[in-house]
């Protein structure tokens, strides 16, 4: 029994890796630009689709992963500059509507470009190993995903907290007006944030596609969990978001094992409870 629970927790850790990749970009974008990016999960799915296309062109998994991540980021910047920049000075509602529209556009365009059936790519052969643990088999690919996710956390942390660019991002996050007074090119920071945020989401999708085929509209289901993670964590704290992603992923996984009838309900209940007790999230600032 203990082994089952431990294995289930391990599965939860694996799922949390994807949640972190989506939530990190979401919270970064919101923190800096104050845009609630409803299209964020659509970028996640786009990353998966792009990985599929690059893999069909080159047959190389690593190249596809990198190219998909970068391309998603570039698409993110283009979208931000063209569609969101004009809306920064107006009411927040319009930005929300715009990101919602973007998610619909991306969804339907992917239907046109990649068709209606689910697409996937094969797992690279070195990862087609199953690691015996807790009396079961844990796919090596899952370990790779967990590792990649952790690596991005470390890299992002270093970027935000130990580099000049990170300093500028944090300054813009804290106080836009002051940052501009200090001659920080906030427009460039906005664009960079979008590049980073959407690239992270794209990486998530590209990592997922070998084990979970992507289809049009898959993002609609993921965005909810991403929001739950961000809300529980509170804004302004990368480590907080990382931990929150793990809380949600592991809780979800363990609930499925013990209370399969109400596992979805419980996640929402937890979110509601946290919002009632600490509306600024577990790790946010008041």
């Amino acid at each position: 029994m203990l082994e089952s629970v431990l294995f289930q927790i391990l599965i939860g850790v694996y799922r949390s890796s994807y949640y972190w990749l989506i939530a990190s970009g979401l919270t970064l974008i919101f923190g800096v630009t104050r845009v609630v990016n409803f299209a964020h999960a659509a970028f996640f799915v786009l990353g998966g689709y792009l990985a599929f296309t690059f893999f069909n062109l080159t047959g190389n998994f690593w190249f596809s992963l990198a190219a998909a991540t970068l391309t998603t980021g570039l698409i993110g910047i283009v979208v931000e500059r063209l569609l969101l920049k004009p809306l920064y000075r107006v009411e927040v509602l319009y930005q929300l509507l715009m990101t919602f529209a973007i998610s619909l556009i991306i969804n339907d365009m992917s239907k046109i470009v990649w068709g209606l059936t689910a697409q996937s790519i094969p797992i690279p052969s070195w990862f087609k190993v199953q690691i015996p643990i807790f009396n079961r088999f844990f796919p090596a690919y899952y370990v790779f995903v967990i590792g990649s996710s952790f690596l991005t956390f470390i890299l992002l942390y270093i970027l935000i907290n130990r580099t000049m660019w990170g300093l500028r991002i944090r300054a813009t996050w804290r106080d836009l007006g002051m940052a501009e007074c200090l001659k920080i090119n906030t427009q460039r920071i906005y664009a960079l944030t979008f590049l980073l945020g959407t690239a992270l989401a794209g990486l998530g999708g590209a990592l997922m596609i070998p084990v979970s085929p992507v289809g049009p509209g898959l993002g609609d289901h993921l965005i909810i969990t991403a929001f739950i993670v961000v809300v529980i964590a509170g804004l302004g704290n990368l480590l907080g978001t990382y931990i929150s992603a793990y809380i949600v992923g592991i809780a979800e996984s363990v609930f499925i094992l013990f209370v399969p009838e109400v596992d979805i309900l419980l996640i929402y209940a937890i979110m509601a409870l946290i919002l009632m007790v600490r509306p600024w999230g577990l790790f946010g600032e008041k």
């Binding site: 289930q8 088999f137 979970s212 085929p213 996984s253």
Partner: protein, 446 residues
């Protein structure tokens, strides 16, 4: 005695008399209105003569050569957006092939079929209304989702057009809406959840395993199928045990926690009604997580749907006692000329083997053709009467439209997935049961 007391007694007697009088009147009327007793009339020689007379008198059927208008408009509903959009495409493929064949051969009594396609996910009731009231559709066919079929079904008596369901599988559409609520406009040409839950149990009962786990989608279809499966299997195998019951919501991208939960039990077999993209995800992850090392059989009712067959292809996993799959029509069955030629025409037209909802929609349009040719009018009651009780030959075999619930009765086999290097995986060990055995029957109380 005071005046009021006297008055009270008088009133009482008055009311009593009225009551008794009323009872007498009522009794007389009731007795008079009583249906006459049925008396057996035995007429011997006279009866035969009369019968013979009736037989020789041929009913005058006016030669029907034209329909009242030059087009027959058919509204086609399917899922055209989101994760299951391929299924709407299959419905369209079947509808188009039927319409093209019929129009090329002169239409329905000279009238051309016109198709209008709508996305049932964009509020099915609104789409149904727009098709009938706006576009003046004469018939509605299609609908993938059980939930949508129930919603649309509720308004069909108001819209007063015939709706032939070609995919949605909930038994409630025919058992409740047609049989109990008398919404006679609804027909279903495709086999319902009897295929998914009941026949699946017939397959399961003969397998040398006892403990079953269920991973099913959390909505009407998933719940009902699992329920039928458990009840039917338990009645044939009292030793059967259901060790795990799990519900996955729509759009689940990761079945890993469900799979690991199944692994945590001592399940020997897995029953799952997951379909389309989620089925592919489930199968891919099941292989990766070593589920197939432990589970000895899998029963997946919609596992021979063509999107899955093409998506999984040669990597469709097989279990020791079989990966048992079926559909609402499977292209290799029955081995009739009608079916073989249909499959050929479909492959020439669309380049792939026909999906089950393509065949069902194709047959629905031919059923409409039959009814219109028989009655020569768009009169709803005449069309309904023409369809009820008809036996029509289709690629899936002969289908009898049962008059009580308007459900087409025909059988579809389960088979084991086998790889023979063909374009798609094939089926072996086809297990066929006459539809009478596994369909439910009116009055549907069991």
């Amino acid at each position: 005695m005071s005046l009021s007391e006297k008055a009270g007694r008088r009133d009482f007697i008055k009311y009593l008399a009225t009551g008794v009088g009323g009872l007498i009147v009522g009794a007389v009327i009731g007795y008079g209105a009583k249906p006459s007793e049925v008396r057996e009339v035995v007429r011997e020689a006279t009866v035969t003569k009369e019968v013979a007379k009736e037989v020789t008198v041929t009913k005058e059927v006016p030669a029907i050569s034209k329909l009242p208008k030059p087009t027959v408009k058919i509204g086609v509903l399917g899922i055209r957006s989101g994760l299951w959009a391929t299924y709407g495409e299959y419905i369209e493929q079947g509808a188009r092939l039927a319409a093209e064949e019929i129009n090329a051969a002169g239409g329905i009594l000279g009238s051309n079929i016109e198709l209008s396609f709508r996305d049932e996910q964009a509020d099915v009731v609104k789409q149904g209304r727009e098709l009938v009231e706006g576009e003046k559709a004469d018939f509605l066919v299609g609908v993938d989702s059980s939930g949508n079929a129930l919603k649309l079904g509720e308004i069909m008596s108001e819209l007063n057009k015939i709706f032939i369901a070609t995919h949605a599988a909930t038994h409630r559409l025919t058992e409740e809406l047609v049989f109990s609520k008398n919404i006679k406009q609804i027909f279903r040409i495709s086999v319902p959840v009897y295929q998914d839950g009941i026949l699946a149990a017939y397959v399961a009962k003969d397998l040398p395993i006892r403990k079953w786990a269920g991973v099913n989608p959390d909505y009407e279809y998933g719940r009902v199928s699992w329920d039928f499966f458990m009840k039917t299997l338990k009645s044939y195998r009292p030793d059967a045990e259901f060790v795990s019951e799990q519900w996955a919501k729509f759009g689940t991208t990761d079945f890993s926690p469900f799979i690991s939960t199944v692994l945590a039990t001592d399940a020997e077999g897995l029953f799952t009604t997951e379909w389309a993209i989620e089925l592919k995800t489930l199968q891919t992850q099941a292989v990766e997580m070593g589920l197939y090392r432990k589970i000895k059989a899998i029963i997946n009712p919609m596992g021979y749907s063509m999107d899955i067959a093409y998506m999984l292809g040669a990597s469709y996993p097989t279990a020791e006692y079989g990966t048992w799959v079926s559909g609402r029509y499977i292209w290799p069955y029955p081995p009739t000329t009608v079916n073989k030629e249909f499959v050929e025409r479909f492959r020439r037209r669309w380049g792939r083997y026909p999906a089950y909802s393509a065949e069902t929609t194709y047959s629905a349009i031919y059923l409409i053709k039959y009814a219109l040719e028989k009655v020569g009018t768009f009169d709803i009651d005449k069309l309904i009467k023409a369809m009820e009780g008809v036996v029509i030959m289709t690629p899936a075999g002969p289908r009898w439209i049962r008059p009580e619930d308007h459900q087409a009765i025909y059988e579809v086999p389960y088979g084991r997935i086998v790889h023979k290097g063909a374009e798609i995986p094939l089926l072996e060990n086809l297990k066929v049961l006459p539809a009478w055995i596994y369909y439910r029957h009116p009055p549907f109380t069991a």
